[in-house]
Symmetry: C2
Subunit: 441 residues, 2 copies
Amino acid sequence: MTTSLLTDHYELTMVQAALAAGTANRRSVFELFPRRLPEGRRYGVVAGVGRALEALKDFRFDESDVEFLARTGVVDDATATWLADYRFTGDIQGYPEGEVYFPGAPLMVVEGSFAEAVILETLLLSIYNHDSAIASAASRMTLMAQGRPCAEMGSRRTQEEAAVAAARAAWIAGFDATSNLAAGQRWGIPTMGTAAHSFTLLHDSEEEAFGAQLASLGTDTTLLVDTYDVTEAVKTAVELTDGKLGGVRLDSGDLLTVAREVRDLLDDLGATETRITVTNDLDEWQIAALSGSPVDSYGVGTNLVTGSGHPTCGFVYKLVSREDSNDPSIQVPVAKRSRNKVSIGGRKFALRRLDQRGVAQAEVIGVGNPPRGDWNDRPLMVDLVRDGEIVGTEPIADARERHLRARRELPPSARRMSRGEPAVPTIYLEADGEEFDPLAE
Amino acid sequence: MTTSLLTDHYELTMVQAALAAGTANRRSVFELFPRRLPEGRRYGVVAGVGRALEALKDFRFDESDVEFLARTGVVDDATATWLADYRFTGDIQGYPEGEVYFPGAPLMVVEGSFAEAVILETLLLSIYNHDSAIASAASRMTLMAQGRPCAEMGSRRTQEEAAVAAARAAWIAGFDATSNLAAGQRWGIPTMGTAAHSFTLLHDSEEEAFGAQLASLGTDTTLLVDTYDVTEAVKTAVELTDGKLGGVRLDSGDLLTVAREVRDLLDDLGATETRITVTNDLDEWQIAALSGSPVDSYGVGTNLVTGSGHPTCGFVYKLVSREDSNDPSIQVPVAKRSRNKVSIGGRKFALRRLDQRGVAQAEVIGVGNPPRGDWNDRPLMVDLVRDGEIVGTEPIADARERHLRARRELPPSARRMSRGEPAVPTIYLEADGEEFDPLAE
């Protein structure tokens, strides 16, 4: 399976025209960055890095790809030949996976010939825009859960392959498990789940259904108790397990009220160790609202896999620099002329400026060399690809730990669920170290 | 590649528990249906049928799948053995692809043993929920475009495989082309695209960039004219082509104003045949607002692939009927006890009731036999799978035609962009033919 056709048609027509014009090999720098955070959000989470590196490995045009492109006239023969030999040979630096980000962050800096770098645009954006949208929503949910475990269970509410990617992004952002089996198979993420209402309805009574589940999955299983009457179901469940039931799941009703009632009932019946999981249309606000309720874990579906109101990040991929047409040793910063849009020519660095206690104060982004001096600046970018060789691969557990670490570094305003400004401002530095406002240009 | 692990963990634990309890083989009927339309929408569009049938073909558990499930303890040995032999052997009926739908519509009715039917839940929902969300948004856009061609170009704003599915769904709902090459390769959808701003920035001047593109792609190409100054760019473009330029693309600014200015300029310069394409953050309202502007075609990205505010349909998959535990020849309707949720036990039929001029009046849904009498009722369901054999495969062009036909049948209220009620009401019929209100039960 190649990934090369998960790409916009115009990437290839640009390659064709540049090859013909003799400009395809101009050394170029592209940056993948957010112009802003989703409205009102305090921070974003980088996800998709590991998937992008995997996709890059398979980014080549095999015989059937080239045949399709030639047959349908997408490209001419010269371009088809060039594509058949395509391998990315350049360099990529970027924010590592799980890192948090702020407006303007150069999440990925891709350097290579124009043709080899432009052609990656669509696929890199698809992966980053989706995965980071999910991770950014997921992080707010795990933040609000305050240590209570969260499980991702939204597979049915998003495209089937997006579901696997969503499970992965959610796990990086602190979720503890997923219902998605492919995410377990491909990425080693813990999977979980027990039964749906249909299982109860298959049997003549709730008692029969619970009995069947307990016999097969053991008393530590979680029983779904809201098919008919919650109180009756809890009583039956406790009775069948002699009070040793692992958990109950509530999937409907006013969870604040019901969770309290069920906890009291379980305790009265002696099932004090039985856990309560809630799963009905949760989002970060619902989770926050349930923080005082006797809930032991959350299952989140729709609102997670659709990015809780922001299903895509709006990252863009822009040419910021390319070699001088007369002197290949010189790089010229370039940018589209835009009103109200941050487009800054030139290759960027990125630092997180911390105060003396290690709390983040600003995202410092600039062209040229990072500032020297007495700053407590943490460099944000790492090598992902060097001379075409992928060097940034890591276990996703590392991304998960990095995320929790980076989130802890943020000031308290990052925890606010109300709409507002990013938790830290972005400071743009000129090559001479002076601050500037890119929108005031 | 199998599709079987694109599935929630709990589907397999239910199979395991039902196998152990001896209830797994109870003949069962599941329905996939919407409880409602997205808030304010007038109709929905069924998409994903063809993809679901392809996915069903690959829904089997190969050695590595079974090994994963056994190793991680998702299922026990007996279930692993059952899964290794799994093939769906039942029947599926449903709305054909491209058909419009209304609340309660039994979009898919899956009949088989409990185990073989329940296990399809996640994958069928993933495909239908995603593809129908995109098609439903797309149909509103093509409706507002009033015959002007629309191109899908949102690949970069959604997960890379979701992008291919989105291109397909959009085409079924009346889009004319996509930027996504994989959608062209896999489904034969026409692809298109020419150049991005980076191509202009690669060159020393707009004239040089346009010259390179025209030399390679011909004068019928579309030039992107808003990298620097639109007026200058249009003049350059017309000059270079002697007024024979195919088209210009506008990707920024106030499109209403700019499109008019560019049309006037093109006409003044004699380029009266040059088409104008606009592509900046369009949605159905923007397209409607541009209906009086001299725009020749629309390119739609983000708002299309994210379902224009409704990225998922919220379809559910419910057990509605299963065999009597004492008499396998009898089917018992079943339903969860729900407040404020339409859950009707029993296998449904679905008809579109038309008036004498062929205009849709109602979605008629009921249990048992369809009503007889003097109605002009169009049956909505077709066979998709019979005894495990896929019989519903069709060229996607058929789905596209069906959609345009079904949409034409709707009353004028279907065209309203304001929020409101579904274009036609859903009428629920009892087995005796009496109407009833499922929420009043």
